[in-house]
Symmetry: C2
Subunit: 212 residues, 2 copies
Amino acid sequence: MEKTKLKFVLASTSPRRKELIGHLKVPYEIQSLNIPEESDETDPVKFSKQISDMKGEAVFRKLLNENPSGNYFVVSADTIVCLNGKIYGKPADRNEARQILQELSGKNHSVYTAVTINLSLSGQSHKHSFVEETKVTFNTITNALMERYLDTGDSLDKAGAYGIQNGSLTFISRVDGDYSNVVGFPLSRFVIEAESFLKSKIAHEDLWLNLF
Amino acid sequence: MEKTKLKFVLASTSPRRKELIGHLKVPYEIQSLNIPEESDETDPVKFSKQISDMKGEAVFRKLLNENPSGNYFVVSADTIVCLNGKIYGKPADRNEARQILQELSGKNHSVYTAVTINLSLSGQSHKHSFVEETKVTFNTITNALMERYLDTGDSLDKAGAYGIQNGSLTFISRVDGDYSNVVGFPLSRFVIEAESFLKSKIAHEDLWLNLF
């Protein structure tokens, strides 16, 4: 009996997600469509899940349109920052970045990343989503640290106007929860969720990483 | 009155500490002496502090020996991993790395980084040290993830046989506390401690980052 093989497609152009997925050491390719990251949802879990689902489904449909019998494993994600019920996406410019960081300064907020897996297997489609939440605490950001950080331009393509890997570490005092989730992809939880999801759909696979 | 200027010296060759200190955007140089990272201390706070102090003092003394009237700000650090009273430093080889990771697998441990600041100012010496603790939780590490991670060689130069920035994120489920502390230098706390320490020694400085 021939072994099932899946084509792993990451439906995201984020260099952080690419780096995190790379740690799995499995072959994958990137295909992404430009989906507006907008939703009427006010609940952060539903909001991030809806955007992640839309990103993934667009790529999944395109792949199945090209090859309806293909075995695809399409992974999409969306990361947002939330404080007191307000959802923060990516800032439009340096001024908006400063304003967001001033609102987060001296407080703790939540980072939500939704992950969606779209699987097609022998002509059948399956979907699995989950949302991970991590708490992040900022010290009060002094003007000196704020301008030094804004100077780097690191804010501009990131939800909540900061990337935890770089200069914002001068004012981030605590992380409580999954660190990679704040980077943009909850890798250790994905490992567990993906394994369990694949085991439920493909019988007798002992090492899910070999499916790709 | 001429402004006081300090020469910032990082007494560590760790590329992770170099990157973290770089986020401060102040000029600094690296000078490090080869100090054996050994101590009879069994308490993790005292252990890391003793090693950090030794690293810093060696460089500080050398600098003052060359130029007794120099204004130096010498920063050293030591990072250890501790589980159930056992202190883990860097592994000797891949087999020891595997053994350490197997001991940490499925549990939460503490990472301690001690930081020592040695300051010389107008011929007088001052010292300030602190130790930051962060909790890290590992999922149970499967054989597949373990060997993939060991293959990268990332374990070998790191306390506890892992670097949190890379492939170990496939099995790290939680961080509770300062993230940069786990990387090897508690940057946001350093910002606060250094500012307070310098303000106590140098009067009327409103922006400590401009001292360098």
